[in-house]
């Protein structure tokens, strides 16, 4: 099976940021994203919204440059103020051309 090496960027953040982060993902050059609900706790112990503990997990498969753009944007614009974590994982994608 022929696969393409790409990066998966995972962001777990306060749910209130969902729409904004999706915009960031797409404007960093991603062709898609996957989102799911999550809970969690970290150094900030803080959450917003009407119910505590609400987080969103966003994942996007992108090439290295887009990953870098996205992570840089997150690090400078969001990390100082919001509860979140972001990391990349190396993955091998079926029909990877689609996502570059």
């Amino acid at each position: 099976m022929q696969t393409t090496p790409l990066l998966k960027v995972t962001v777990v953040a306060e749910a209130v940021l969902r729409e904004r982060l999706i915009e960031e993902i797409l404007s960093a050059g991603a062709t898609g994203y996957t989102s799911s609900a999550a809970e969690g706790d970290g150094s900030r112990h803080l959450r917003s919204g009407d119910l505590p503990g609400d987080n969103v997990r966003l994942e996007t498969i992108v090439n290295e440059q887009a990953a870098d753009r996205l992570m840089t944007q997150l690090a400078t614009q969001y990390f100082p103020h919001f509860a979140m974590i972001a990391y990349t994982t190396e993955v091998r994608v079926v029909r990877g051309e689609k996502y570059v």
Partner: protein
Amino acid sequence: MWDVLRHNFCSPLTLSFGLGVAARVIKSELTLPRDMYAALSIYLLFALGLKGGVELSQSSVAAIFWPAVVTLLLGCITPVTSYVVLRRLGRFSPSDAAGLAAHYGSVSAVTFLAAQQFATALGEPLEGFLPTLLTLLESPGIHIALAIGAVQASRAGRAGATAKDRPAVERGEGHSARGLKEVLHEVLTARSMILLVGGLLVGAVTGETGYEPVKPFFEGMFKGALTLFLLEMGIVAGSRLGDLRQAGWFLIGFGIVMPILHGALAVALGHWGGLSVGGCTVLAAMAASASYIAAPPAVRMTLPEANPTYYLTASLAITFPFNLLAGIPLYYQMAKWIAG
């Protein structure tokens, strides 16, 4: 007074809230499932709007005019008084003060409902357009407080504050510059706003006849659903009790005294605007209440520097229970006193 208080303490609403708090205190894992909580709040807001709309269709514009003016006035005054008190007396940072002011300038629908049930249980007649006033009070306070926050912090910024202290709105970044506009749209199209205003419209158009067949669902079930909702609110408030220490004594005092002042002001203005004793009580409860559905996400997005622990704890764990237990009966006494 004691009779009224005791009656209020023994209502299923108050007791369910207490049960929720107690469940948290003894560390039970009890909590309403997320979708059940959302379903209850959708039901309550839509039912509230619907009934309000049906009653509104029977009110004259003349009857509503002054109460509406008075309500909008309260929506402009309460965020400012809150901000000033928090900055001057409480020495809170501009962001924290503005974040809190947005909450106290807006309104809690559940406090409204509790006041409505309270007045009805005492046999006080209520104006049919009160839910309309609720929708008028929801958003102005949030916008005024957020605007104050933005302006103040930008001043602070120019005066040499570090980037971290300045609100995102003022840092001229692509995504943040849209802050206030975005927030305006968000508050106006928020779930709660659409359900309330939409319910009002549907109710007003459909009228008594259209309402009749859905009444058993939207009216017959209302108090029971509200009871379950208060159980969850108790659980959430209980889980914030631990944050009271972090909030500090000033904020605890603020969360009790400010509602009393705003409530008194609302009673006076409401009386002047022609509201009945029941109407004054409900208006006072609205003005005294702090939002915890519409305000938190708006503040979080626009003023991320404001510490959420302050505003969530103050509205949920201090002001809401205070109003539920003692505030509403107090405003009622004030209303009776001013009326008589």
